[in-house]
Amino acid sequence: MSFQATRPNLLAAPAIAWLLAFMVAPCLLILGYAFFERGTWGGVVYTFTLENFERVFDPLYARIFLNSARIAATVTLLAILIAYPAAYAISRAPKSRQPLLLFFAVLPFWSNYLIRTYAWIVLLNREGLINNVLRWGGYEGEPLSMLYSEGAVITGLVYNYLPFVILAIYSSLSRLDMSLIEASRDLGAGPIRTFLRVTLPLTLPGVAAGGVFVFVLSIGNFVTPALLGGGRFQMIGNLVYDQFLTANDWPFGAALGMILIAIMIVLLTLQARATNRAAGTVREAER
């Protein structure tokens, strides 16, 4: 190995050591747990079994999986629909103003996740801001119960992950060669057809990156469903949490966790492949 190749590896050593100790090792540990029997008071009994993975496909749990996937998909779709126009507007703003606009888009992200989620409780509850405003405006019926519902969970998740999607789509849009848009107009396509045939296809890698990100984070999330779903309402994250801390079934929790990680790896791989395929064309567009 040449000197040139060695040095970057050495520079990355602390990060690699960190990942090995706190990311790879715990994951392997959890992976191992998933193949053993549960201990009575938590922990594991070292007897090999595949039963934990069988239980994952039990209709009771499979339903929670599907439910989580459906919610995560809805969150992803909404986040993309909201983020794309925002990212588009930012990328078309004067160059000097774009950093400020991006800063505002990402601003909520710098406050604590829990506090941001609690803020939605303040907004949504029966005595909350929205109901108060409605009553003030003359509404006299029952206060709306918006909190502790699937809608509240979806709202909370979309809100929390929106900045990521805006950033991902913005980075695609800002790299898009404006002369391609002009060429499309010049060739007779109006703004809508130009968007559908040129802008959107060329920014799909950004949409995919943001979308996979939101989907993966949403499907495994347990804080937001716990707070805004009020416990009535379970996603896989809550299930895993319960297995480790309430039901004391570490191996089953581990098996659920492994399935989540597997979903994540599959999605990230697909996205990386799509991005690589698009990278050639993007490079071409930048030339």
Partner: protein, 354 residues
């Protein structure tokens, strides 16, 4: 010193006192031009002269601050780009990277919602004309610079525009290919019978390709005419210097009708007196072998070009050595440092008041 806008009867495109301001900067300043049908017209000027802005106004990407653009008598100044029967070939080619060659070329026809069979036929035809048959399924990234250029050209031409605008179409090609493509473009323009307006900063390119050319500087039109007009009779000192090579000798014209500078005196009847620059092309300066009345100088440099030899001759009248282009076979055997006498034909001189 803009000429009075020459009005042409069968002008396909008429530009009327067109101006464009970007904030405090006036990029195009009151340009009036008539472009003939089926003409190869060049907009020439140094970078920042406003030629690209002018072209972008014709394409519809910039709205004029004032003035009008008339296409076959109809005002198109406020039409959106997709509504103008003009097409632009982009300097960067702007090929759609996610589409194959054939999809790129068909794009403009699909936007016109033409029947599939007609799209197919016209795309095939233009691909044959531009020598692209066989590249249909390639992606732009799999093409060479020259091939991309032809795809860009085909994509615009297939629309059969009334006018094709070309923004520095050969800028990205290497010298050899560029020279070949200059002639190729001219042949193609003749074959398809479409009016071409090309923007370039390369005066040689404009001279080779254009039927007529306009020289712009600081947003203003300086001169418009055939390459020969512009080369032989520049009406402006900037044009004289920009097109081809020109020697300038600063001096003055006296009441006696003579141009005088240090070490030279030339009869120039009929030209207004005052401080004046004399301009003369290198090929209009000759070596004075007899008499000894010529302008005295000394050879400082020599360059052999095969057909010609260019001598750089230091004379008292100007700081930069005069360039003298002489037939290489006739004027052989000169040496650097050699004293020499030059003669200038008065009728080949141009005079610009200083």
């Amino acid at each position: 010193m803009t000429d009075a806008p020459t009005t042409i009867e069968d002008a396909i495109l008429r530009i009327e006192t067109l101006s464009k301001d970007f904030g405090p900067v006036r990029a195009v300043d009151g340009v009036s031009l008539d472009i003939r049908r089926n003409e190869f017209f060049a907009l020439l000027g140094p970078s920042g002269c406003g030629k690209s802005t002018l072209l972008r106004m014709l394409a519809g990407f910039e709205m004029p601050s004032s003035g009008r653009i008339l296409l076959e008598g109809k005002d198109i100044s406020s039409l959106k780009p997709e509504r103008r029967p003009l097409n632009l070939m982009f300097q960067s080619y702007a090929l759609f990277p996610h589409m194959s060659v054939v999809r790129n070329i068909a794009y403009g026809l699909e936007m016109e919602r033409l029947p599939r069979a007609e799209v197919r036929a016209r795309v095939d035809e233009i691909m044959a004309v531009t020598d692209l048959t066989g590249f249909a399924d390639r992606k732009p990234e799999q093409l060479s610079g020259g091939q991309k250029q032809r795809v860009a050209l085909a994509r615009a031409l297939v629309k059969r525009p009334k006018v094709l605008l070309l923004d520095e179409p050969l800028g990205a090609l290497d010298k050899k290919l560029r020279e070949r493509m200059q002639l190729e473009l001219k042949r193609l323009q003749h074959d398809v019978g479409i009016t071409f307006i090309i923007v370039t900063h390369d005066q040689e390119e404009a001279l080779v390709m254009a039927d007529r050319m306009a020289i712009l500087k600081d947003g203003q039109l300086l001169q418009c005419g055939s390459p020969e007009d512009v080369y032989e009779s520049p009406t402006d000192r900037f044009v004289a210097n920009f097109i081809g090579v020109m020697n300038f000798i600063e001096g003055g014209i006296g009441a006696d009708g003579h141009f005088t500078a240090e070490g030279m005196r030339l009869p120039v009847p009929g030209i207004a007196a005052g401080p004046t620059a004399l301009a003369i092309r290198p090929e209009d300066v000759a070596i004075d072998h007899g008499g000894g009345h010529g302008i005295a100088g000394r050879i400082t440099d020599m360059a052999y070009h095969g057909l010609d030899r260019v001598l750089h001759v230091a004379i008292d009248a100007c700081e930069t050595p005069l360039q003298v282009r002489v037939p290489a076979r006739i004027e052989a055997g000169h040496a650097i440092g050699e004293p020499i006498r030059l003669s200038i034909a008065p009728d080949r001189c141009k005079f610009f008041p200083a």
